[in-house]
């Protein structure tokens, strides 16, 4: 480089690029979901705006930007206005640690996965702020349920994400991805028994952490209308939607990285990020497929499922992974 750049400049630039790419991805992932869900329901999704609906997300974004921003008179203004931002920031921050190709990431921290899991569960703060600040019984009820649910499902989420960590021996996301390179069967999803079980529990925990059906008691349109977002309109609503889908994509990227081998795939090295993207879309579609196939279950049943079934199962899985790792490295 002709000019000596301070070390934080490349990071800022890459962060900026990643943020923009994520926002673009979020908008088109919504279109993908709508089309996919429509086909599963014997109908066509967005079709008229642009060829085959390709301009639909842009139309939606424009509409949300131009909408009137209605603030309820009795709402707690500061909390109400801050909540979408507090909700959005952790959802964007998780992309900092994901490496999109070997060496291509914003910050491949040594504690990458810990950072991811910790920051992603901070969205609950923004969520509760939104529910409280709206001064609305529906929003409050939904925020209470949200706290319940996300706290209950964070532990199984962490434990199932820790299984690949144990199998790799490092918290660094770049290392976990690197271990899965080479052949198809290096992918952790193909690890006998443990890999598949961990993948299934990861998907279930992701569904719950994302408030997706069958765990979407949080929004439950037929009961609570829109849950914690019921009083938001216009750009604030857009920010909340952005945060939700960004979190969804982030978790899909994490799942693809932890279990599906990140950028491994046939073809030249440069094709790596493309494979990563495709795997992320696959994870997202699996979650969407489940979402559109089931009715939701009640909040006490969700909590029962988590504490009585999923948490013991993931704990047992983690312990057995540890035993297997020690046994394979000849520790016994």
């Amino acid at each position: 480089m002709l000019i000596a750049l301070p070390p934080w400049v490349p990071m800022v630039i890459s962060g900026f690029v990643v943020l923009n790419v994520v926002i673009g991805l979020v908008t088109y992932i919504t279109l993908l979901e709508r089309k996919f869900a429509a086909r599963m329901q014997s109908r066509i999704g967005p079709y008229r705006v642009g060829p085959h609906g390709l301009l639909q997300p842009i139309a939606d974004a424009l509409k949300l930007m131009m909408k009137e921003d209605i603030v309820p008179t009795a709402a707690d203004r500061r909390i109400y206005n801050l909540a979408p931002i507090v909700f959005l920031i952790p959802c964007m921050l998780i992309f900092a640690t994901i490496p999109f190709a070997p060496g291509l990431g914003v910050a491949d921290l040594n504690i990458g996965i810990l950072f991811f899991l910790a920051v992603s569960s901070m969205e609950i703060v923004g969520l509760f702020m939104a529910g409280w600040g709206s001064n609305n019984k529906y929003a409050l009820l939904s925020a209470m349920r949200a706290v319940n649910q996300i706290i209950s499902y964070d532990l199984p989420f962490i434990f199932s994400a820790l299984v690949p960590v144990l199998l790799t021996g490092s918290l660094k996301l770049g290392d976990i991805a690197a271990v899965q390179q080479g052949s198809l069967f290096n992918w952790f999803i193909f690890y006998p028994v443990i890999g598949q079980l961990a993948f299934i529990t990861f998907v279930v925990a992701t569904l719950a952490a994302e408030n997706r059906v069958p765990f979407d008691i949080l929004e439950a349109e037929s009961e609570l209308v829109a849950g914690f977002r019921v009083e938001y309109s216009g750009m604030k609503f857009a920010l909340i939607q952005l945060g939700e889908y960004a979190h969804m994509i982030g978790s899909s990227f994490l799942g693809a990285l932890l279990f599906l081998g990140a950028w491994s795939g046939p073809g030249p090295e440069a094709l790596g990020p493309v494979w990563f993207l495709l795997k992320m879309i696959f994870m997202f579609l699996v979650v969407t497929w489940i979402r559109w196939s089931f009715v939701r279950i009640r909040v006490d049943q969700i909590l029962a499922l988590s504490w009585k079934a999923l948490l013991p199962a993931t704990l047992a899985l983690l312990v057995s992974t540890a035993v297997v790792v020690v046994w394979r490295t000849g520790g016994f």
Partner: protein
Amino acid sequence: MASNGLSRAQSGTGIITITGAVLRAMGATLKNLFRKPITVHYPDKPRQYPSRYRGLLALTYDKETGEENCIGCRLCEYVCPPAVIKVEMLKAEKRNYAKTFSLELYACEFCELCVQVCPTDAIIMMKSFDLSTSDRRELLLDKDRLHAIGLQHEPSWATGNLLRDMQTPPKAPAPAHAKPAAAAPATTETTA
């Protein structure tokens, strides 16, 4: 407990049933993913309307003489449940006419009772409902508009005489003004 149906998940066999059920439900949606959607691309592609479709209302002319069929008898006005038809009779030497005939389509129930009672098959329904406007006043159809609709769209099968013959089939040979089709109404229409 009866209220927590998830207690079945605790047992081993419960897990297998649940997994089977989950996979079956997901399989059903996956199967539909690959079926052709049943959407009809209206308005790019027209929908097939059955022959008895109750669409827009229209006034008709006589096929042979070109005269208006309506004799202003006001039977349709009296039978209409929401009373949307208003007719004024014009007396003339050979037969009567309708001086004004207005139909408020925005309040019409499309019940076909007016078609049923009309003695001269003057008012009929069309196989199309395509008259959306952004101004409701355009749906207050006057006589000219009604005649124009009758010429623009395809008429549906039902006319007053055909409907009445369906309810009490004529014992005598079909009267002169009803076409030969009236004697065997089923053959002129398809079920499509």
